[in-house]
Amino acid sequence: MLTDFFQHLVGSFPALLKGAGYTVLVALLSMGLGLLLGLFVCLGKISKERFLRVLCSGYIDVFRGTPLLVQILFIYFGFPSLLQQLFGQPFPFDPLVAGTVAFTLNAAAYIAEILRAGISSLGKGQLEAAESLGLSYIQAMRFVILPQALRRMIPALGNEFVTLLKDTSLLSAIAVTEIVKEGRLYISRTYAAFPTYFAIALLYFVLTFIATRIFNRLEERFKIHD
């Protein structure tokens, strides 16, 4: 029994590790792209242009107000089928790309809100001081506001990244061979459900543990002494 457990734990590991490669890849890509997109969404939401504000608020509300799984299915199945109806030819979508797009769009909504909170926590004084020196709004954002907001937001961004890592398990629904999918494949060959799911849980735990440590380091490194 116990030897069985360890045998499958070890046996499932190469496949799971391969899956972890996709998990980390999608999480890193969507975190990076999500930061970039989230930055623009955030700047739109706090801009003076009413149109931009409404657009960006709408974006944030939609992506935070619907389940991530639905977003993934929508992008992977929904869009290609719409395009197929419109143009009369199939639009195959790589599941990995679809998954990354879905995660990026979703992460951007959360990151935009995180950034906005970071910016408003700075108060008006910083922007006024920068502008009083002759910096333009964009320069003030770039050199004064965002560097501080981002540093303050490292813990929240760390949480977002850990959430991303865990949520990539949803990609098994569209046949990306990430950790859970690889695990299921292994189980279907061996029927060793307990050791495999144990190994899956362990692997996620190790990944999130490492990510948390890295973000703690970053937080220490970029601490603002005020």
Binding site: E128, A130, L133, G134, L135
Partner: protein
């Protein structure tokens, strides 16, 4: 140097400035005094268009400035401002605080800029703090850095909004000393302050505001010793207590 005509400013229904005419000539030091809520800060903030006036004209050295972004930016780069709460950039060290704006706005080269910044820090007595972060400075030191930071843009005018009100009493003197030295050097200055001693000693002129209007003004010593209007008398009486 600065000329303001017919300046009006409201926040929603609240009329804060009700038609201000105000001029400062080159090299002059003007102290702006008045009760809380009289609009002193708002006037100062309108001078560099941090607040947008509803009406009136602002000109600097004969050039009139509208609220187009490019003009606003130009005006602000010619007018230095020192805030009550310093507003130093906490993620940058002292030298970087001083160098940021001239580097980005004036595109000064690193070498000469570093020299300028170091010279300014020496003048405010903080040459040894160049590498320190604002979080590790006392209030008085922070305010002196803020002054150096504003001076680094080589402004034509310096505006001070209660620069010593947030300071512990024992460090007020060091900041006033820097301002005094600046005044002696010929800088044009507008200072909102409750420090009547400073006004008497350093200012050329005192302007007294109440309820969004300039009520009385005059040469500093004369005005402070012998105000004409009842409001100014009452205000000075309470300030000196």
């Amino acid at each position: 140097m600065i000329e303001i005509r017919g300046l009006q400013k409201s926040f929603g229904e609240l009329k804060v400035l009700k038609g201000i005419d105000f001029a400062v000539s080159s090299g002059e030091v003007v102290c702006l005094i008045g009760p809380s809520g009289s609009g002193k800060s708002t006037l100062l903030r309108c001078i560099n268009l941090l607040d947008t006036p509803n009406q009136g004209e602002i000109s600097l050295e004969g050039k009139s400035y509208q609220t187009l972004p490019k003009e606003v930016k130009e005006l602000r780069s010619e007018v230095g401002m020192v805030f009550q709460h310093f507003n130093l950039f906490p993620h940058l060290n002292v030298l970087e605080n001083v160098m940021l704006a001239p580097a980005k706005v004036r595109q000064l080269e690193d070498g000469p800029l570093r020299e300028l910044a170091t010279k300014l820090l020496r003048e405010v007595g903080l040459a040894d703090k160049a590498a320190a972060y604002p979080g590790n400075l006392s209030g008085g030191q922070k305010q002196r850095v803020a002054i150096a930071r504003a001076l680094a843009m080589q402004p034509k005018v310096m505006l001070f909004d209660e620069p010593t009100s947030a300071l512990d009493p024992e460090v007020v003197g060091e900041v006033l000393a820097v301002m005094k030295q600046l005044a002696k050097g010929g800088m044009t200055m507008v200072v909102v302050t409750h420090e009547m001693g400073f006004a008497r000693e350093v200012a050329d002129r005192v302007v007294f505001m109440a309820d969004g209007k300039i009520v009385e003004e005059g040469p500093a010593r004369e005005f402070l010793a012998n105000p004409q209007t009842e409001r100014a008398k009452a205000f000075l009486g309470s300030e000196l207590k």
